[in-house]
């Protein structure tokens, strides 16, 4: 199956979700996709089919907390926010991402 061009690298989705929630506080799923898309200047597009299963898994793992709330358009939506455990996870994932990109950078430079 051909991967879509802007498919998000496996494993980075949770990092993006955690970072987004850390930066913006409480958000619903659609806002998270929009945020990632906007901030990455349309370079990254989050697929719904990956986002929701991932967020629910993270919720089950205790990284996220979710509540029903009302949007400015007066629609019922589920708002996600970080837990303490989520923050810790974010720090870890940021660090390992930094290591990974550094490693890749070095390889690209010297190999």
């Amino acid at each position: 199956m051909p991967k879509s061009r802007n498919d998000i690298l496996q494993g980075t989705l949770s990092l993006l979700v955690l970072k987004t929630l850390a930066a913006r506080g409480s958000l619903h799923g659609y806002a998270i996709t929009s945020h990632i898309q906007t901030v990455s200047a349309d370079m990254l597009r989050v697929e719904e089919g990956s986002l929701y299963p991932a967020m629910h898994r993270m919720e089950q793992d205790g990284l996220l907390r979710a509540e029903w709330g009302t949007t400015e358009k007066n629609r019922q939506a589920r708002f996600y926010s970080l837990t303490a455990k989520g923050r810790k996870q974010l720090a870890q994932e940021e660090e390992s991402w930094a290591r990974l990109t550094e490693g890749v950078r070095r390889v690209l430079r010297y190999a």
Binding site: H28, G29, Y30, E48, Y52, P53, E59, Q76
Partner: protein, 893 residues
């Protein structure tokens, strides 16, 4: 939108699926709004939002992150699919389900019997604590003096009781008898077992006092069937062998005494047994071995401690109960014996002793039949998987995981076996009843609890699942290995893969042939055994002989009037129209009853006590003529053989050879040992041909026939033998009238001698019938398997055969190719089967009569039969192969 379902299930444990639906609906509407804001029409926007959402429908299913709910969901989907698939191929489903139903049904039926006869615990509290106490000298029965001495001295049981189970009470007074099985039980019977009353009270210590008034407790089943669960039954009387006995209560439902296969219907106190059985000295006699002793181990006492406790009291018990008139030798061995114990948690059973071996042999047979049935279904599945190759290939090409595919196929095979097992359970219920009816005899009905308990159900389900996985796994793995490219390209008619796939099919057929050989040889041996037993010369001519057993009312006349009465009865029986000869005797042949004793013959020194033993019967004149045993020398009893005249006997050839070293010892003298004393000299006046005594299997033992007319002992029953012209039953009314005339309270039972003879080889008949049936079934299944594989093979190779023929192969050559393939499978199967069979038939050696476990004729016959059946199965496919029209076959390509 399968990811949606996955998501729903993933979160399912703590979130409601409607919740997720709402969340996703929200997402969808936000996206739609956005798209509208960018200038799309609302319809187009909604469609586009949905399109983006559904993008993942074709995504590969990642079953590994499925929760329990997902599995369940998939399972339901698989099940639906399986049902649909089976509906599409009804013939396949029917054959597969039916052959499994037969196989599983047979296994469940035999297991139900094994469960009922051997495994089921007694319905009493803590049956595992119950212990039977036997004498170590071998007898499981004890005398009443031993029981009382043991009871008064023991300290290892919290409760202990003895009972006699072989009582059969006649419920009627005169006329056609109706019997109830009775247990005579000691006072603590019910308390020790922990059985509760259903109604009234049970027997207790106060009921069991010497010289007691008889009272009776009915079993729940008897109360329901005979008294219609009458609530006012307590206080009524029941007639037991013409004694009116007061009913005091009804025992707990489900409790039918301790003997499996025989249900106790009436319980009476042991103290009443002498009165009811009209044997006054029953309880004081030190040679009446008729009681079973059972104790309940005290809390926490190990069986070693129990044995130690019994060892301690054994010398005192046996010293106090030495049989009267025992020789000095006998006294010493008697007093030196100890007690042995045996667990009774699953009850006592003569049935078990008689049939457990046969049941286990049958279990082996039906297990093999099931294996063959499984192989057949596996072969069918393989063929089906081959024809479904395209379907599976398309599913793989569309992204279905192979694991899912395997699960799907396994669901199908387990579904088949589950339906088979359900039908099999019905077959089993029906088959069990049939078997029990088959084993019951008129005078010994068998009662077994054949209800489906947890163990039987568990067995049934386990067999279903195991067979489903067993025959399904191979084909499923193979089918899932399909290469979509090749399968789709080859237009569903595999050419390269064909060869490999069918080696598995052939291996299955070879296994079927091998197992079938074992079953056919086993059946041959068992049928041969039965045939030999049925045709062995018993030493009499049973056809046309009716046996009559009369139970005399208690209070019989003295010896002299007894003899007069007997002479009178005999005279009148001989006068009944249709009776050509008649006689009376103490025993009739081929029952379990026997009478033996030691002989003392001048000039014969027995090497062991066993060598001095002869078997006895006591008859009137005409006995041999009636039964058809030829008198070889000397004379029959005659009117001159009276009380006071010199004692005479007729013996058989075996006795002459053993004790007198001549087949004709007429005129010689023998004495019968009675305890220490040796009886009066008895002169041999006649010699008869050897006739079977207890069993058709055993050779006729040395037998002495004494004269009824020289014996004044009074019995409570009478056996008469009548040789009848015409139907044996035609004389029944007249004989009844004669006996009723003698005593209005006499009860009479009739049994054609041929039936008694057949009943004595019931077990052999059962084994022969069932093994023959299953052998034929195995043969049929193997034939179907072979035919199926070859027919399929020929169909698949039609192109190849067409090419061969186009290139000049003759029809015979093509047919020969098919037959050659079959012959190879047959030879390999028969070789393997031969080895298997030699190992397996050794297990049934004990059942065989007159033939060895490797009887060459049986082996040869079975091999020839299988080879013939195999070639018949191959005939049609071979003809079809030879009939292939090359033009047609190649045009299709």
């Amino acid at each position: 939108m399968s990811w949606l379902r996955r998501l729903r299930n993933l979160a399912g444990s703590n979130r409601h699926s409607a919740d997720i639906g709402r969340e996703l609906a929200f997402h969808l509407s936000e996206r739609t709004d956005d798209l509208i804001a960018r200038g799309m029409t609302p319809e187009a926007a909604a469609q586009e939002a949905r399109r983006q959402f559904g993008n993942y429908g074709g995504q590969k299913e990642r079953t590994r992150d499925a929760g329990v709910l997902t599995s369940l969901d998939t399972f339901v989907a698989d099940l639906r699919y399986a049902i649909r698939a089976l509906r599409h191929s009804r013939a396949f489903a029917l054959i597969a389900i039916l052959s499994l139903a037969l196989g599983i049904g047979a296994n469940t039926a035999i297991f139900t019997l094994i469960d009922a006869v051997m495994l089921r615990s007694l319905p009493v509290s803590h049956p595992e604590e119950l212990v039977q106490v036997q004498t170590s000298d071998g007898g499981s029965d004890v005398t009443n003096p031993i029981w009382e001495a043991m009871r008064d001295r023991q300290s290892v049981f919290s409760g202990v009781f003895a009972y006699a189970s072989n009582d059969r009470f006649n419920l009627t007074t005169g006329g056609e008898p109706r019997y109830a099985n009775g247990d005579a039980v000691s006072g603590d019977f019910f308390r020790t077992l922990g059985v509760q009353p259903e109604l009234g009270r049970l027997l207790s210590m106060t009921d069991d006092r010497s010289g007691c008034e008889p009272t009776a407790v009915l079993s729940d089943a008897f109360w329901r069937s005979v008294y219609g669960a009458d609530q006012n039954v307590v206080g009524k009387t029941i007639s037991l062998d013409s004694h009116l006995v007061r009913i005091v209560g009804v025992s707990q439902a489900g409790f039918n005494g301790l003997d499996v296969g025989k249900s106790a219907q009436v319980f009476v106190p042991l103290c009443a047994d002498p009165v009811l059985t009209a044997r006054a000295d029953l309880l004081t006699n030190r040679s009446e071995w008729f009681l079973t002793m059972i104790g309940r181990r005290k809390d926490g006492l190990s069986s070693e401690r129990v044995q130690a406790g019994l060892r301690l009291i054994a010398p005192a018990v046996f010293a106090a109960t030495v049989p009267d008139g025992a020789s000095a030798d006998r006294q010493t061995t008697y007093m030196a014996q100890g007690f042995a114990t045996a667990p009774v948690g699953t009850g006592m059973s003569a049935l078990r002793q008689q049939y457990s071996g046969a049941l286990l042999a049958l279990m082996g047979i039906v297990a093999l039949v099931l294996l063959i049935a499984c192989a057949n279904v596996a072969n069918l599945l393989l063929a089906r998987a081959a024809s479904r190759q395209r379907e599976l290939a398309i599913r793989v090409a569309l992204g279905s995981a192979r694991g899912r595919l395997i699960r799907q196929l396994l669901t199908e095979s387990v579904l088949i076996s589950a339906i088979g097992a359900a039908i099999g359970l019905l077959f089993a219920r029906w088959g069990c009843r049939l078997l029990v009816a088959f084993l019951s005899t008129a005078d010994k009905p068998i009662y077994l609890d054949l209800s489906v308990d947890r163990r039987v159900l568990g067995f049934n389900i386990a067999v279903a699942v195991l067979t489903g996985l067993g025959f399904g796994l191979g084909p499923a793995l193979r089918a899932a290995r399909v290469d979509p490219n090749a399968a789709l390209k080859s237009n569903g008619r595999g050419t390269i893969h064909g060869q490999r796939r069918w080696t598995v099919g052939k291996a299955l057929v070879v296994a079927q042939i091998a197992i079938s050989l074992t079953l056919v040889v086993g059946a041959g041996l068992l049928v041969g055994t039965f045939r030999r037993l049925a045709t062995v010369d018993p030493g009499f001519a049973p056809d046309g002989v009716m046996l009559v057993r009369a139970e005399l009312p208690p209070g019989s006349p003295d010896g002299a009037s007894k003899l007069a009465a007997q002479t009178d009865v005999l005279r009148r029986l001989r006068a009944v129209p249709g009776v050509t000869s008649a006689s009376l005797s103490v025993l009739t042949p081929l029952t379990r009853a026997g009478w033996n004793g030691e002989l003392d013959v001048d000039g014969y020194v027995p090497r062991s006590r066993k060598d001095a033993i002869a078997f006895f019967n006591e008859t009137t004149s005409g006995y041999f003529q009636t039964l058809g045993t030829p008198l070889l020398a000397g004379r029959d009893f005659e009117s001159g053989d009276r009380i006071g005249s010199p004692k005479v006997a007729i013996v058989n050839v075996a006795l002459g050879l053993r004790f007198f070293s001549t087949p004709n010892p007429v005129g010689r003298v023998l004495r019968v040992k009675q305890g220490k004393r040796t009886g009066d000299p008895v002169t041999i006046v006649g010699v008869v041909k050897d006739a079977k005594y207890n069993s058709l299997r055993a050779p006729a033992p040395p037998t002495v026939y004494l004269a009824t007319s020289q014996d004044t002992a009074v019995g409570t029953s009478l056996n008469a033998e009548l040789r009848v012209t015409g139907g044996v039953s035609s004389i029944v009314p007249d004989v009844k009238a004669v006996l009723a005339d003698v005593s209005p309270r006499v009860t009479v039972t009739f049994m054609p001698f041929a039936t008694q003879l057949n009943d004595s080889i019931k077990r052999e008949r059962l084994l022969a019938t069932l093994s023959g049936f299953f052998g034929a079934l195995a043969l049929l299944l193997a034939m179907l398997g072979l035919y199926g594989v070859m027919a399929y093979n020929v169909a698949r190779r039609r192109n190849e055969i067409g090419i061969r023929m186009a290139l000049g192969a003759a029809q015979q050559r093509v047919a020969g190719m098919v037959l050659g393939e079959v012959a190879t499978m047959l030879v390999v199967g028969l070789l393997l089967g031969g080895a298997l069979t030699v190992g397996a038939t050794r297990l049934i050696k004990a059942f065989l009569f007159g033939m060895g476990a490797t009887d060459p004729a049986t082996f040869g016959g079975a091999i020839a039969l299988l080879a013939a059946v195999g070639l018949i199965a191959a005939y049609l496919p071979a003809r079809r192969a030879a009939g292939v029209d090359p033009m047609q076959a190649l045009r299709d390509e």
